[in-house]
Symmetry: D2
Subunit: 303 residues, 4 copies
């Protein structure tokens, strides 16, 4: 392609968390550019945020509806190519739906939708349009996660037998949501987060990482979800036994009450011929394990 | 006491594994001495082993029965005080029983007995005699394991919420038991090991460590045990969800097919106010975790 | 500023190493944009490289002279603001000089110049113009390196007593430069690298890191530089004793023959009241050391 | 030998530090027994200490002279075989000398003597007698240190080029010797410690470890020793450049003012074909480094 890909963002204005992460990721290789946004439900705030990104006021919209409508009628050489959605969970599906219906590709923060019904509608819609739909499980972007997947796919570990995947955090060990902390607020609120708390917020990353690296699909599971903090409506900790199609077994646990843990996503995979271990805290290092030989510390080039 | 404590050993002759571990542990502080033994079922081998420990031939017995009978009639200032049992699982209870019945204290390698029936008989017997009965879960002997227990007991971590305990090994990832390897042989044989394979051999250490450090008792569990290696009769991997009395939850998994793992017992405990982490691979280091503060690396004095 | 800063790059075309690093760094926060370049001494290659970055052919120049001359006469709202120099060492000063003389700010890869004479000329020139001159010691860009500097400056460690800084690599343990490997070629060639080999290439990063974090200046040193690989003209290993103004002492060693080390830059700083340790292999972790207290593992927010 | 080896100890009574370490080490394999001692210069204290070890009062002597004299005239089947010396530095040579002169082997804590003159006298004496003289550099006793030495000797790393050996401690970062702390007292006192402080106390362990593992001898060195703590007479920190016979180079640094370090002895050795790294904080792990391959984490059997 002889030009940069252009995108518009829904959410991610001043004070937001994940929007900035998406923008940085989009910037890194210089192939994509932000051209418009509905950064906030307040048109004024949306324009203020857009100014931070050097966008003209006319392309800083007050709602995603306005953005999609107005961008759709811009000339082809100017209008956005895809929509990036970085709002809280309950606001993922509506802009995705409208974007797809108007011929824009979609890149959405996880989860795809608020509930199963929306998910099924989304699936149907994506199949019908010719648009691309991408869901950002960001941890699969690490070079060594991709390398881990390749190692398994190439059969270096042999048939996979066991997977241990963990995602402990500690930041919700007390009832932070009552202090006005914005991130804690929507994540512990069933109306904005959905039916799941911790297991949906981060357990899904663990599940995604396990399936992504091993190429296996979970067949059955037994889960024990708990809300440890008094008064909390959604789970803040979960332990899960996993059975994969093909016979592998596993353990997944995620937590937001594991005091002192910040963002300690990690995975271990054991096959008949070898094993691997990766921690997002030290993402440029992967441990490789072999029968009757010392463990290897595999590093990316800059490590 | 103005003299060393004296003990006799059942098992642990030349070529055995755990007997030497017991002797080293007994030697370290210079308070105990080995005075006799039934080191092998062959009287000749028993004497040869005893010679390695500078024991006189007359106190190297051919059977534990002989040892207990003959020691029982020695003068008090000479005879053994207790019996150390370091045989395979099916031979734990018989010498323990006879020792207790003859007034000798017992220190037995785990498991206490081969099955539940024996265990109940042992319990009854211990209660009846005035003898002491000790079971060696060796990992609780590490200074930092004791310190971890003390930290929890002193309330430094607050009420315990979550426990993650793991014991992965990889040495049975192939069918080693068919090669004549002695340790693999009895551990995978239901007649000598009992009803459990991996979960009994090492999962019990994990369970013991979790209860020892937290002071909590397991109330309920859901386990998924697997024999991954074709033709193996006993489990070689197990994943378990734990619920403790008082509300704590946890995960325990142990494995003998986790390729590349040697003896990687480890535990993490999270309470309302703090957490801890310990790995037997680096037993002189314990990680302490606190809300909103950096993790601490706590070392024993020589570390 | 209500627009992005614009820059032109000298060097960094297809097949180059450090140019891509500079472009990524420039992209991340979305405040800067690449608008032109003399990416190669071949005008054809320069245009091909520029196309990778979506630059129009007319702003892909064949030489830095051409770039500076032509950009200087573009309208203010279009022309570059600064020049980024990412060529081998002997080509750092000439474009910097010409850029400064034509009113462009300069951001140069280290070292600033090929020799001391050039360095003094550069110093004079920078003082004379009103332009900014920046030298990229990239490792100081890590968040925790900046935090380390702040910790020392705030007196948290007390008066600094000892610094240990290391930069071991192993990639030149054999005579790679005779195989046509481009990076090894110029780095071991006195005509392109300058008077120093390893100590100039990476020892300088170690020196920079030590002075950057501690705020101290080296007063005296004793160095033992060696060319271990037979036939090599420049040092590939160096050990240095350091004395800082104010009384701190230290050790610096860097190496390109430390087999198995990739890019293991690290530093330890000890003051009267505390110490710190940082490794670029795990750049989001810093160890903090205190008297009579456990070491702390300090992590950046995502860690 | 069909009996245990018997030894007597000089020093090491209640309240002492290194004596207990020697006794534990002697106990472990059950081949040696403590039969007598001059544990303290007070006969009363000596007997009290001996009682802790179940020794009869008559073999708990008030002075090493008395011990050597009386043991020398005991019957062969009863008297000690060797003397273990665990006193402060200035009291190493006198008992060693007398023991050797009376036909007893000697195992002495390091350093062998207080000064060079004594060392030369000791050398002469050892050559004259048929007795064995052993000096305990305890760190060479670790299994992996011996394995490291074997790896180098077997040529696995190729010709050795570079050695980095460190021994940082932090316990003397303040003037602890003025508080009555016994260990700090004699170590910082030239009359009891000798001409060297830190470099003699622990730098020697680093030097010993480097020569032990590599089999190389130091030919030349340049050292920068410092007493950082005001009023201290002996060095508490030292940085040293090393040159070995045969061309290898190295760095040695030891410190007692590196705040937060407990006993962090470690070494890295790089040869033409491979490298190794060992830390006494985690003594059962050794890192092996190879060209163009991931680093290996080599563990002892229990690791």
């Amino acid at each position: 392609m002889s030009r940069k890909i252009r995108y518009g963002m829904v959410g991610g204005g001043r004070g937001a968390f994940i929007g900035a992460v998406h923008r940085i990721a989009a910037n890194i290789d210089g192939q994509i550019e932000l051209v418009c946004g509905a950064f906030s439900s307040s048109p004024h705030k949306s324009r203020a945020s857009g100014k931070d990104f050097f966008l003209p006021a006319k392309r800083c919209y007050g709602t995603f509806q306005e953005m999609i409508e107005k961008e759709a009628v811009l000339p082809a050489e100017e209008r956005m190519d895809f929509v990036s959605i970085v709002t809280p969970n309950h606001m993922h599906f509506p802009p995705a739906k409208m974007a797809l219906e108007n011929g824009f590709h979609v890149l959405s923060d996880k989860p795809a939708t608020f509930d199963l019904k929306e998910a099924k509608a989304l699936e149907k819609l994506v199949k019908k349009t010719r648009c691309l739909y991408g869901l950002t499980h960001n941890y699969t972007g690490y070079p060594l996660v991709k390398e881990a997947r390749d190692l398994v796919a190439a059969g270096k570990l042999g048939k996979i037998r066991k997977v241990v995947v963990e995602y402990p955090q500690g930041w919700l060990a007390t009832r932070l949501e009552t202090t006005g902390q914005k991130q804690a607020g929507w994540r512990t609120d069933p109306k904005r987060s959905g039916a799941a708390g911790c297991i949906g917020d981060i357990g899904t990353h663990a599940e995604n990482l396990a399936e992504y690296i091993t190429g296996l699909k979970i067949k059955e599971l037994a889960a024990d979800l708990t809300a440890f903090v008094s008064g909390r409506k959604l789970d803040d900790d979960g332990n899960v036994l996993l059975r994969f199609i093909g016979g592998a077994k596993g353990v997944l646990h995620s937590s937001q009450i594991s005091v002192g843990e910040e963002n300690n996503l990690n995975i271990r995979v054991y096959g008949e011929r070898g094993g691997l271990e990766w921690h997002q805290n030290e993402p440029n290092t992967m441990l490789l394990k072999w029968p009757d030989q010392p463990m290897q510390v595999y590093r990316t080039a800059n490590g």
